[in-house]
């Protein structure tokens, strides 16, 4: 959860100052900051549970690519505005039902972080859905660009909603965790919005991705190089 927020937040931050209009530049930066704020909570908790004295910054800035556990969808390039929108939408449609599930976990720390995130992510999904519909069902040119952008990001979405060994193991320990339910909710949102947006689900299969096991695409190295440079070059730098 923390790495998803951190890496997608970092990606979205690349838009800062480059948005198509001022209002949307700010909208996207808000979402970026929401996600980075969420990442801070998750990573702090992870460091605390690990008990090795690593705080959020240590985890964010002093891990290498193969130690990151986010979905490879999050690290895919921004592309054009439509690509960013669709990557965000496919992520939000997964992020929200998962957070809703975690917000009902017995563990009070997990539940309270998720409850805070749910409110932010509900807006993210609303925002990305609206843009998907606006451009998908806009002009002939915007529709074509959206369908093409969808073909680019679609193969990475499968990793979010298909269970891996970790999901099955976790579901045994905690029956409140159910990736099939997230999968169902995701498809329902995707079908509903694509229907309004006049977008077709691409015929291409999911690309087998193992971001959650630390196997990432070549994109991640570039993100980390930029994100981690300063704290690595100046380890005692203060905010």
């Amino acid at each position: 959860m923390g790495d998803n927020g951190l890496i997608l937040g970092q990606r979205l931050a690349e838009w800062c100052g480059h948005g198509p209009i001022l209002e949307q530049d700010i909208a996207l930066t808000n979402i970026s900051l929401d996600l980075i704020g969420q990442a801070r909570l998750w990573l702090s908790l992870a460091g605390q549970i690990e008990g090795q004295g690593r705080d959020e910054d240590k985890l964010a800035y002093f891990r290498d690519a193969n130690e990151f556990r986010h979905l490879n969808l999050c690290e895919q390039p921004n592309g054009h505005w439509g690509t960013t929108i669709l990557r965000q939408f496919l992520f939000d449609a997964f992020h929200l039902p998962l957070l809703e599930q975690i917000s009902k976990f017995d563990d009070p720390q997990l539940a309270s972080i998720a409850q805070k995130c749910v409110k932010e992510v509900r807006y993210h999904l609303r925002w990305s859905s609206e843009w998907a519909v606006r451009l998908g069902d806009g002009t002939e040119e915007s529709h074509e660009k959206m369908q093409q952008a969808l073909a680019d990001v679609w193969p990475f979405a499968g990793e979010a909603i298909l269970a891996n060994a970790f999901d099955l193991e976790l579901a045994e320990i905690n029956p409140a965790y159910n990736i099939q339910m997230v999968n169902k909710a995701w498809w329902s949102t995707v079908n509903d919005v694509f229907n309004q947006a006049n977008l077709e689900v691409p015929a291409a299969n999911w690309a087998p991705q193992k971001g959650r096991e630390g196997i990432h695409t070549e994109r991640l190295g570039f993100i980390l190089a930029e994100m981690q440079f300063l704290p690595r070059a100046y380890p005692d730098a203060q905010w």
Binding site: P20, I21, L22, E23, Q24, I26, A27, N30, W81, Y123, R126, W127, E130, R134
Partner: protein, 95 residues
């Protein structure tokens, strides 16, 4: 995307319940739904409000600054119209 063609909207925000909506600025948007979200993103980032109104700017009829003399000056010397002779109890709060 050409935002030059997007109409202008005026944004009004209620900072808390019990107060009136107050004009805070304007923005461009393709339609009212987008204007509302833009207003949320641009003007409510620092906990400014609990309610937003957006109004297409061309729906606002404004007074002409050139008419100021006849519109406002006559009221200037009529202090008897101000309710300054009453004391307002503290409990009333905002008036």
């Amino acid at each position: 995307m050409n935002s030059k063609n997007w109409p202008l909207f005026e944004v009004f925000i209620r900072s808390k319940n019990g107060l009136s909506h107050k004009h805070v600025g304007s923005l461009h948007a393709a339609d009212p739904a987008m204007a509302l979200e833009n207003a949320r993103d641009v003007y409510c980032r620092r906990n400014e409000g609990v309610s937003i109104w957006v109004v297409p700017s061309d729906h606002i009829t404004a007074s002409d600054p050139g008419d100021a003399e006849e519109l406002y000056e006559p009221a200037r010397d009529k202090i008897y119209r101000h309710p300054t002779f009453y004391t307002i109890p503290d409990e009333i709060g905002h008036m």
